[in-house]
């Protein structure tokens, strides 16, 4: 019995049960189905983890999915170290967030639907990470995108929510466009879409160039970059990051699960999974590193000024994802995955805390209308504080180890842009600490700035919500301890565990330098927190004055660098304009239809003219006959 099959298919079964019977029969009890399923998955995952730890790697097909000539793709499963890490992340977060949702979503009219979607998402995400070939990966990839679409647009009667869902899906399609082509290129290059043969043969093509759309390009670079397009979309990197902030329209547990802990990290997972290909192309790696670094910085700057609690965390997610790509780009895939793993805990926790706050504030999102919530909701406060300390990279917390690993490997690795991205990374670490604590201070400290009515309602969330918070908090604090570096006396077990899959990047720098890197990032974190404390606890007028002084900068940041407006201006509006005015208005109506309608019209017109020949006068008829005869005779004589 292949136990591992239960991991994805339990949630699928839960989805089917909920979607078919939820509306009429299960109703308020729908969560039981989903939670039991995901809990089952979690248990099987743990068993599988033990198997993998004991060295048992699974790679087998369930059935062949698409067979056409030499093209073959299966539904198959590969469970190795990387997969199992992802499995742990997905099932753990998913399970906790399921439980949290019981309290958070109680009373919602689409209760069954919500749990159905969560289960479906879990299924798709598990299929994604467990795939043993690219096509199944693509299936999971699109599947999670779909669930994300459903869940973002969960409150579909709100225009903004349905807009956001649609936007997420379509923006992702842009990335998937490249991803799909990448899969096709892989198939055309290797003759297969399975991971194992592709990765083992990749080296043979290391030096090959290929003609792509008329340009000769390095084959591995091409494939890697096409795949990376998918990552950019899914992990909301520049320039396809625009969907993620809007995705916050979805219920908060969704933001936590999909848009923080699991789905958005699929891009990182893809790069890590395809590390044998990426490693063969320095260009591709550089692109990955720079994209990650720039996105990290870019999103962090936007997060500085946002007022919406979820949006701040969303930009922080984009920024942290950038970190992970930065890591992958410098060849430190293990560090990237490590950060993915720790990030999933503290970021999910941040979102759930935000949800808890919103719950208390009756859906209020603007942190400027909060303040002083500490005394009303202590559990939320403390868990969120720990999560923020973790993300800010405070020593000892999970985030510290993973972030430090990334910065260290960026600094010390072989990458030509390593030092540059390290500088950005350190800067982002500072910014991260700043905006995270800006959020904490504005929300939980100071005086309450909301309405009286809101203040009256303030309360701590129910047990179903706070228990997951506490559990996640343990993860946010302690999950990093499996990867304490050798320098600090740890065993770097996490990196060692992933080594068979992701390889190991050699650091060629001294211990002193390593201490220095660690110190710098720690200092950056501390100073970020300090500055936030100064701005929002001590001298609260500084931010306002700064905003006034650097109005343009502030406006640009507030409007997210106008990227949305730019896309609307260069893609959406021209497309619709073209459709309306050129395709419908000119090609269809004035050219094709003009011909199509013109021919019968012309014939009708010609018919009316030709009718006039038939005057009704006998002699005219006879004359035409005679004339016809004459013409024929003339033709016969002079032809």
């Amino acid at each position: 019995m292949n136990n591992y099959l239960l991991i994805p298919f339990l949630p699928l079964a839960a989805f089917l049960i909920n979607i078919l019977f939820g509306r009429k029969y299960l109703k308020e009890n729908s969560h039981w189905v989903s939670i039991l399923a995901v809990a089952g998955s979690w248990i099987v995952t743990v068993i599988t983890l033990l198997d993998v730890l004991s060295g048992k790697i699974i790679n087998e097909d369930l059935y062949s999915w698409i067979v056409s000539g030499e093209f073959k793709a299966s539904v198959g499963f590969l469970i190795d170290q990387l997969t199992v890490v992802m499995l742990i992340v997905v099932t753990t977060c998913s399970a906790l967030i399921h439980i949290y949702s019981i309290g958070y979503m109680r009373g919602d009219k689409g209760y069954y639907r919500f749990f159905a979607y969560l289960s479906l998402f879990t299924f798709c995400m598990l299929m994604l990470v467990m795939a043993n070939n690219f096509l199944q990966l693509y299936f999971g990839w699109e599947g999670v995108g779909l669930c994300s679409y459903f869940l973002i647009g969960y409150y579909f009667d709100k225009k903004s929510a349905s807009d956001a869902g649609k936007k997420a899906f379509i923006v992702n399609r842009f990335g998937d466009f490249g991803f799909g082509l990448g899969i096709i290129m892989i198939f055309l290059t290797f003759g297969t879409a399975y991971y194992a043969p592709v990765f083992s043969q990749a080296k043979n093509f290391a030096a090959q160039t290929v003609n792509f759309l008329g340009y000769d390009v390095h084959l591995m670079t091409l494939i890697a970059l096409l795949l990376f397009c998918g990552s950019i979309g899914k992990s909301a990197q520049m320039p396809l990051h625009v969907w993620l902030p809007d995705a916050m329209e979805g219920p908060t547990p969704v933001s936590a699960l999909i848009h923080a802990a699991t789905m958005v990290t699929a891009g990182v997972f893809l790069v890590a999974r395809c590390s044998p290909i990426f490693s063969l192309s320095e260009t591709a790696l550089t692109v990955v590193a720079l994209t990650g670094a720039i996105t990290a910085l870019f999103a962090a700057t936007i997060a500085l000024v946002q007022k919406d609690i979820k949006r701040i965390i969303a930009y922080s997610t984009i920024s942290q994802l950038g970190y992970m790509f930065l890591a992958a780009g410098v060849g430190a895939y293990g560090a990237g995955v490590f950060h993915l793993y720790t990030h999933s805990f503290f970021k999910a926790l941040l979102f759930l805390c935000a949800g808890s706050v919103m719950h208390a504030m009756s859906g209020e999102l603007d942190i400027q209308k909060m303040g002083g919530l500490k005394k009303y909701m202590p559990i939320t406060y403390w868990t969120m504080l720990f999560a923020s300390l973790s993300i800010a990279g405070m020593p000892g917390f999970a985030g510290f180890f993973s972030k430090d690993e990334i910065l260290w490997l960026a600094y010390s690795g072989q990458s030509p842009v390593g030092k540059f991205v390290w500088v950005i990374g350190a800067l982002v670490a500072f910014l991260t600490a700043f905006y995270s604590f800006r959020l904490i201070f504005l929300t939980f400290h100071g005086k309450f700035r909301g309405t009286h009515e809101q203040e009256h309602h303030l309360h701590e969330s129910p047990k179903t919500m706070t228990v997951p918070l506490i559990l996640l908090c343990i993860g946010a604090v302690a999950s990093g301890w499996v990867g304490i570096p050798h320098l600090l006396g740890g065993g770097a077990h996490f990196m060692e565990f992933l080594k068979p899959v992701l390889g190991h990047s050699e650091a060629n720098a001294t211990h002193t330098e390593e201490w220095m890197v660690m110190a710098i990032s720690t200092i950056a974190g501390f100073s970020g927190i300090g500055l936030a404390a100064l701005f929002y606890l001590v001298k609260t007028d500084i931010p306002v004055r700064l905003a006034q002084k650097f109005n343009t900068v502030y406006k640009t940041l507030w409007n997210k660098y106008y990227v949305d407006e730019l896309y609307s201006f260069i893609i959406v509006r021209p497309a619709i304009w073209t459709a309306k005015n050129i395709l419908i208005g000119i090609t269809d109506a004035r050219i094709i239809e003009a011909v199509v309608n013109g021919v019968p019209k012309g014939l009708g017109e010609f018919s009316r003219i030709l009718r006039k020949v038939q005057t009704g006068l006998v002699q005219r008829y006879a004359a035409i006959m005679a004339l016809g005869l004459l013409i024929i005779v003339a033709y016969m004589l002079w032809r």
Binding site: G616, V618, Q619
Partner: protein, 100 residues
């Protein structure tokens, strides 16, 4: 002996006169007479050929043509009378009830 060509030219000329008459005259009866003229033109050439070829068929045909012409005249006048009763005219250019 008169050469064949002279008959043929005469025949053609009479035929053309008939055609011309048909195309130009307004009165149906005159138009009909023009048709008779055309038939007689044919008769001339047939008789001439018959004589020239020393073959009876041409003359037989001429007899038939004359007979048929008579029948045609009978029917033609009947139609003209029917028309005249309804329309009070024998002018062909007033008959354009149907056209187009």
């Amino acid at each position: 002996m008169v050469p064949l060509n002279w008959y043929l030219i005469l025949s053609a000329a009479v035929f053309m006169i008939g055609v011309f008459g048909f195309l130009t005259r307004r009165n149906i009866i005159i138009i009909f007479m023009s048709v008779e003229l055309m038939l007689n033109a044919v008769n001339i050439s047939l008789v001439a050929f018959s004589h020239y070829l020393q073959d009876m068929r041409g003359q037989i045909l001429v007899i038939f043509i004359i007979t048929v012409a008579a029948a045609e005249a009978a029917i033609g006048f009947a139609i003209i009378i029917a028309l005249f009763r309804n329309k009070d005219t024998v002018h062909v250019d007033e008959m354009d009830e149907m056209k187009g």
